[in-house]
Structure formats: C-alpha cells, structure tokens
Symmetry: C2
Subunit: 626 residues, 2 copies
Amino acid sequence: MSSQKLKIAACQMKVVPGHPDINTKKIITCIREAKENGDDIIIFPEMAIPGYLLSDEWENEAFLVDCLSYNEDIVHASGDIMVVWGNVDIDKNHPGEDGRIRRFNTAFVAQNGEMIGKFYKTLHPDYREFDDDRYFYSARKLAQDEKIPIKDFLQPLQTEINGKHRKIGITLCEDMWSQDYSISPIDLILENGAEFIINISCSPWTWRKNNKRHQVVREHLKNHPVPFIYVNNIGIQNNGKNIFLFEGNTTFYHPDGSLYKIAKSYEECSLRGSIFSEEKEVHENPLLSKKIDHEELLQGLLYGIKNFFKSIKAEKVVIGLSGGVDSSLSAYLLAKALGPDRVFGVNMPSQYNSEITKDIARKLAEKLGIYYAIIPIQEAYDFTEKQLESTQFESLDGSEDKINLELDTLDKENIQARDRGGRVLAGIASALNAVFVNNGNKSETAIGYATLYGDINGALAPIADLYKNEIYSLCRHINEIEEKPIFPKKLFEIPPSAELSAEQNIEEGKGDPLYFPYHDKLFRAFIEFRLDPEDILEMYIDGSLLEKLKIEEGVIETYFENNEKLILDLEDKWRKFKISYFKRIQAPPIIAVSRRAFGFDLRESQNGVHFTRRYQKLKKRLLKID
Amino acid sequence: MSSQKLKIAACQMKVVPGHPDINTKKIITCIREAKENGDDIIIFPEMAIPGYLLSDEWENEAFLVDCLSYNEDIVHASGDIMVVWGNVDIDKNHPGEDGRIRRFNTAFVAQNGEMIGKFYKTLHPDYREFDDDRYFYSARKLAQDEKIPIKDFLQPLQTEINGKHRKIGITLCEDMWSQDYSISPIDLILENGAEFIINISCSPWTWRKNNKRHQVVREHLKNHPVPFIYVNNIGIQNNGKNIFLFEGNTTFYHPDGSLYKIAKSYEECSLRGSIFSEEKEVHENPLLSKKIDHEELLQGLLYGIKNFFKSIKAEKVVIGLSGGVDSSLSAYLLAKALGPDRVFGVNMPSQYNSEITKDIARKLAEKLGIYYAIIPIQEAYDFTEKQLESTQFESLDGSEDKINLELDTLDKENIQARDRGGRVLAGIASALNAVFVNNGNKSETAIGYATLYGDINGALAPIADLYKNEIYSLCRHINEIEEKPIFPKKLFEIPPSAELSAEQNIEEGKGDPLYFPYHDKLFRAFIEFRLDPEDILEMYIDGSLLEKLKIEEGVIETYFENNEKLILDLEDKWRKFKISYFKRIQAPPIIAVSRRAFGFDLRESQNGVHFTRRYQKLKKRLLKID
C-alpha cells in the first residue's frame, strides 16, 4: 500500500455494433486478464456494449433493456479491479424528447462487485455522422432541468483504490472536444478536483485527427497538469450510407500532455500503463507527412473492406475491370483485403473498348492472381437497342396517338453501363453467391458522372471518398511499397475515360469531361469546405482562389480562356453537384476517409439549384455587365 | 381606434425549399394584398424564406446570408402592417456547436419599416425527419449560456397596434408540442402575459395529426384562454430518402380552444380572421373516420406525386404494369396526378406471366387512357441465362482453377426482375426523357421481397409507405369514389404474386410468401411501434397480441399450426427486416404518409440481427425447452 501508483489497462477492443452479447463476452475476458495482471483499473470504450452507430435501433426498448442487463455481468466480474465502460442508460420515469424512453450515453463504473458510479455525456455532437441529441439526453439538459449549474453537476468520481482516496474525472468522447461549445466539461471537472482524466470514446478515424487530439489534450492540461487516459475502440460502424473506420489510437498522456503510450492502430489490445508512478517513458510525437497519410489511408481502406465483407458475411466479391485506374485500385484493395481467391474480375468490352484498356485489365488480374473472365456486352446491347427502337407506345385515350422510341448517344451510353452493372455483374454475383462493388470515385460522384442502375450499382463503394487525383496518388504509393509495381505505367498515361462512345476514344486522347487538377479542388470546396459558388467567385476576384483551394499555378489558365468560360463551368458544376443527388440517393455505402463523405455524412435534399444574390452581383461585375 | 379588434391574415403559402427568392416574392405579394385588405397583422410560416428540410445546406454560409438578406425586403414592405415570418438567423460572433456559423430557427417581426423583434425556437425536435439540434442553436441553450431562467427568457413581444399596447406570444412549431419536454414555452409565455399566441410551423401531414393538435391547443389554453393562431405552409419538402407532405391546415382558435377558422388542405391562401372581436363563428370539429382517412391519404399522395415531378422537372413518367394491385394503384395515382397523357405503361411478360394479369394490365391502361406498350423480356432473359451459364472464370494465380457459373431458381427470378427494371424501364425512360417509378409496397420493402437493380429501381416510390392491406383498401375506396370502378374485380381475387417462376403461378393459386393479414401488422409493430421480437412473444404469451397489434381473431391459427411455426416465422421476418436494409440503402425516395416511413424517417444501420436474452428465455418457455 505504500505505492501511490495506479496500474491501468486501457482496453482497445473491437466493438461489434448491435451485438451486446459478443461485446460483453470480450469485456469479461479482458477483465479476467487484467485481474491476473494485477491492474487497478480497466477501461473500455464509449458504448462498448451496444456499439454506437445504431441509428434508430436506439428506439427499441427491449434492446436497450437487454444492453443494460449486461451491466450486471460486468459488475459481477469486477471484483477488486475498478471497471469503467460505456453503455446506454435509461430512465423509465421520464420520457425522452422523442416521446420514447429517455436514454443516456453513459460511462458506468463498478468496483468490488458493486456499481459505484455513472456519468452521462455532457456535450452531444450533432454533425457529420453524429446524432447524439436525437438519441440521448445530455447531462447539460439534466442540469438545466434540475436547476443545478453545470459546474456543480460535473463532479469527479470519489472512491478508494489500494487504500487511497481518489477523485477521478470520467468523461465521454465529445466532452473533450469542447472548443465550439459554451462549456468545457474537462476543465470544469478538473476545477472540481479530478486527479486524472479518463475519456472513453467511440471516435472514427479521419485525416490527421489524432494529432489534433494530442493538441486538444495538451490545451486542457495546461492549467491542470494531470494524467489523461483516452480509450477508443476499433472496428467499423455504419449508418447505412457510410462506413466509418475506428482505428483506436488509445493513448496515455503524461500530466504535461506529452505522450506516454499509444496503442497500435486497428489492433485489439489492452494498453497498459501506470500513473502517479516514476515511469517517464515518452512516446514520440507522431509525424505528419504525405507518406504517412497514404499509409494510414491504405491501412484504413483495407481494414474497412475486410471488416465490411465480414460483417455482411460475404465470402466472394465480383468486380468489373475496365482497365481504368479506379477499377484497378479497387481490385487491388479487394485482393489485398480479402485474398485474391475471393475476388472475381470481369472485363465487359463493347465495340468502344480499346485494346489498351482490355490489356491493362487482364494484366492487372494476372498480377493480383484473382479469378478472371471476359463477358462481352455487344450482343446484349445490340438486342436492347433494337428492341427499344422498335417499341411503339399507343395512346389508349381514344386518340390513336403513337410514339416511337428514339435513342440518342447518351441513351446508348447508359444502356451499356446498365448492361454491365445491372445484367452482367449482378447476374454473376447472384450466381456465385457473392456481392459486387462500385468503383466510382468522389469526383464522379460529385456530379453524377455515372449511370444509375449501371456503374453506380454495388454492395460497397470502397473508393468513392477519394478524388481522382487521390486515386492516382494512392496507386503511385502502392507501386512504391509493393515489391513489384502493381499498376502498369500505361495506366497513368491514358486519359480517364468511360469508353462508352467514339467520343471517349482514349486512343485519340479523348476521355471524361472533367479537368481534375481544377475540379477535384472545386468539388472539395463544395463538399468539405461547404463553400458556395459565391465564395468561389469572391476568391477568384480577390486573387486568393489558388491559395485557399490549393490549386496549382497555371491550372485555371490552362482550362479557361476567359472569365465567361470559368463562370459557365462553375455554374454547370454547381448545378450538376446539386441535381445529381438523385443518383446518390440510390448509391451504395461509401467508406468514409475524408473530412466529409457523400452519404449520410453529408446529408442532402433534392431541392434543385439556387444562386445567391451576391453571386449574381459578382458575376455581373466579373463579366462587366450592368 | 375605438375597436380593440385585430384583423389577421394567416398566410398558408407554398414554401419552395432552398429558394428564398421565390418564397420572398410570394411573401411580398401577400403583404401587399393584406395592406389593401386593411389587415393589422400578417403571418407567414416557419422558415418561410429558406424552407425547412434543407439537410446540410444549412452549412452553406453564403446561402444563409442570402436568406437573411431577404429580411430587408420584407421589413421594407411592412409599412403599417405587422409582419411575422420564419427565417434563419445567424450569429457571426459565436460558433455553432458544429464549428460552423451559429444558426437559429427564428420568427422575425417587422412593423412600420423596422424590425421590431425576433424569437428563437425553444424546443428542438430531433426525431423522425427532424434534426433541429443538428442545424440550429435553441433559445434553451442561449438561456443556459446567459444564465437566465428559461421563463424569464420567453417574453411576449410588446408593441403598439392601432394605438393599443399589445403583448404577443410568438412561438415556433415544436414549442407547442411540449408534452415530452421538461418545459412548455407556450405556458411560460402565457404566464408572462401574452394576450394571444402565434405559432408559425412547418409541420408535415401525418395521420390524424391535426385532430391531435386541436387537443394540444385546448390543453394549453385551459388555464389561459386567449386567441391562438397556427400558421403552417403547404408544399412538399424532402430529405432525399423521403418526401413529406405539407397540407397547411392553418387554424384560428377561439380562447376556449374551439375552432374559429381552418384553411383548406393543400390550398395556398391567406386565411383571414379577427381576434378580440365579437366574431363568434365556430368551425366544426373535424370528424374522424376511415373514409376521411382514405380521402386524406389519396389527396396527399396525389399532391405529393404532382409536386415531386414538378420539383424535379419531369414531364413524363414510365411505369411497369404487371397486372397486380400495386402497379395498378400506382398507375392510377400517376394518371390522376399528372394526367394520362404523361403516363407510359409497359407490360413486360415472360413465360411465367398469366393471361389474367396481362389482361388486367391492358384493361387498366385503357381505363386510365394512358400510353401503353408490351415489351416481352423472354428473349433477352434467355440470352442472359445462356451467356452467364457459359461463363467460366479462370484463376490467374497459376493454379489453373476454373469456376463455371450456375443459376438457381432465385438467380433466374432476379435476372427477370433486373431485365425489366434495369434494361427495359430505365431504357424507355431514358429514351423518352422521362423518369420511371417503383411500385413496391411497405410490406415487401420491410423484408426486401424485391430485386435490387430490378423492381426496386425508380425515381420515386409513391406507395412504399402503404402496407399491402392498405393498398387493397385504398383501391376499394377509389372504386367507390370514381364514376366507374377503375380496378377490376379480378384484381382483388388473384393472389399477390411476382410471377417470376412456376412456383408463383397465380392460376394455381400460388403467390408471394407473405401472410398479409398477420405480417402487415407484425411489420407495423417493428417499423412504427418500434417493437422487438421479445415484445411480440411477450404479448403472444400474455394474450394481448391481437388487441395490441389489431390482428383479427383467428388469423394466427390460420397461418401457424403451433408455437414453433410462429416462432420460426417471427425470427425469419425479424432477420429479413434487418438484413434487407442493404436493399433499402439503394431504394428510391418514398412519400411518407404513415407514422414511420422507410428512408430517412426510419434510420437504419447494417448491423445484422440480434435476439435479446429475454427473447431467448420466452422462446424456451413457449417451446417448453429447459
């Protein structure tokens, strides 16, 4: 009892959303191990029992009661170790504001076979994939209802560990990300005497978020230097339209905010450390670099693909291989994540497909060692063209009016795309008891440059959160890290093309109607920065466009010979971005890796197009119209 | 000036979401008319300028500033009439909790060319289609930040009208629906001396909601009898996955809560009434009956279809006519809403389609006077079958392993469905520059009894919020109200069937594997009541199942010979309900008419299936397993 030291196990577990039985079983196993190891405290992530992204399953009361019942198992298992874990709590005496049972996102604490505390989440994120106020009642609302100042409400847990009285600040996820809120739960609980902070989280990976978190923690500890333990889960969770990656990155911080221990990404483990000890181990501050970004991105995509197919119990996957860069990257990821013997590549040529791309498709399949077949679509296409063009509608209103169908170029292109996606790929996947994937990228998705019921089809869109230039860039990275290059040089040289008509003949250098060096940046401004055409024009006029959107010098001049052309394109792309949402409504789930993914991360309505009054003014000024 | 009377115009305008220019133009016109009419006050709905269901467009700051700029036009137009309207307000000095600009759902008030007040919404709904806390900062949070008790915060507007000082309680939508909240803004503002209440709303139609509202108002006025004016918009608004109907039902209430005036549903108008007058006109309390429910449902669906196609600028619509009840109802609704000359019916027989249904399809098209064509799919189907069955995959891993494709019955059924939806209907719609519809019903949608990229395709699912029995029931209602019956008797006699194989031969009385009199009620329990299989078993055991789910006597016995069969089916349907979400992710927008529609009204995750511990216990008890 002489030591003040506390031995802590931070359990970076893989949480399976919606399956409290599986999660609790794992928790109990980890508690047993921690006891054997002589740990004083074991900590599990936020919502470790139910999972977090459950959508409206939070309204299923029987499920909630079921989740809650697992608390007893944990309390029972606790013994002399203190256990902190996330679960949902309910209040049967007060309704939630949705008229259903009131729910709380809660950190429970058990010790010596008893429940000794529970703490409700104070700050509720309601942006991107987060909907905490939809599902939970916050400590903030409770304090207001009980007319208690929030500072008085946020008290540390007081308990005895190894004969010593302790004050422990227990918080949940967003409680530490308080910069945009009017209160800071971490600061308040520290002012109320917490000797160390536990933050249990269910926090998805996004670009450079962990580095941001290290800063945030340092900021909190500046005036109150105490140990800080951040416990996050691994796994994937989804809201249907998006799949989010949880990499863990469970971290112990020293009182000065420096890093003590960090768990490996995507690895299930109990990270162990001691606080109030002489231990001075310091973990290096993680670096930031494009290379590390690529590594993290690749690791995340592979983890997401592997776990998504596992979660839907899909053993085999079918993929259309066009010989273009998107499907090539997609095939690589599938083969790497699932193993080549589970991947079935299909090349589906029509008269418009070049020998170049057919050759790339075959060679890529060989390099990956996957299954491969060629299924031409020309004959089926010709039949459909003939059948439709010979179709006549008769009006049955007595007028004897007749209408014949005529197909234009776009109609014909779309027939090919639907033949591939809706007839061939879906038919093969069905026959193999497999699923198939969508190979779309974010640039195409942004303006609906894809055919609904054609190439938009698929059970998963693994790379739809990557802009075209990011696709190329990731392919180059893969070529560098693989023993032998996977993607042939030719792939980087041919123009991106759908090859659906003579107008898209890559051998004549023709391809997709997008200027990726410019449009990728423009789309990111729309999607991730939430900018309006008004903002784009404003920046263009004041000369800050290149810098703010990180567009390379000379790019604008390359594509637009004058202001009028730039404005025409801007309006065209904004219009397509808005209108093409009708396609995204019916698009498959996307693995979210950016700061804003299409799907249920970026929520949209079919409301057409609007240009602001200020936009109209700026346009007139630029075009010198009075 | 002797009269105390106030003449009020309640403007039930059609709000076009995302188009502040269009909405403001209408507002200005109505203000002009009200001035000519000598009104004292004119009131517009909640979010009359921007619209309400804008999804993440609320993050577009240029759009917000644009919306706000239209306030000036209204203030300028106000003159000596007092104007109350809904718009978004922003606070550039404080961030929203999403780190973007802080926004408020606001009621603005102008008079004599000046802005004289603004009131923020206090209660924020975050259920079903509502996401107020995602988008707006509430008066409640503001009061907590400013450390002001909420009652002190909610003060009436004080102003002079016709030389008399007035205290007016101005509230927004949910502020009156406070039964599940810990505070009641209406009651507090009445306690603070409001002489009458204005509630501006953007409140979608749902089953019997208006009657419920009349009760709620009476309850509020019980202790504080004052005039109450409820102003709601008409139109449709959407969140992509769902289309919501706004019928208006703008209402003046007498101080005793009785009805004074009610605007007609879906009609744009300025409803005029006088308060503090001798006017004793009483509007009858609306009746409740199944017949009225049918009328409202039909009116809503027609309004929704008409306005949806208008909003997406679709002139023509293509519909597959199978001769079954779902497509028949769908075709009727389209012809009625859009006019028969805009509807193109297509019958797409294979070898499995009976003469009976082909005949029904043709006769229905004749009755409706729409365009019609027959496009057989057998030849295309046979080609696909042959092509797939002759396909061989070779493994390119060096093993020379080969895999041939084999099609089972289900594979073959799905090929037919995809041929119809993905090849024929999509091809025709494309050639006609039209869209096509999905004819699925809610019962099928609940368990994914439909083919993805086949009959699930479409730009709109007009009847996917109606269970199979509601489809029949609405068809009967239509037959009653139309001069001559639309739907032939035969349609009600044949079993519902997909007619995709010999196993679904209606001439042998075979059809879909669903017991609609039972399953419709079971699905409603899952979807709308949010019940779990545990609850179903619990009710079954305690004998309350029939009553609680409104299942008819004898139905259970008809379909299930013993408890084991019932349990098998219950687990099968729960599993299918959960798993089939993967199809709904890619399904088209649904017009919401129930208390919970699939789409973004009921939010789901792909999390597989879970049975609670209590369910397992009840099951064992029922099957007498130890």
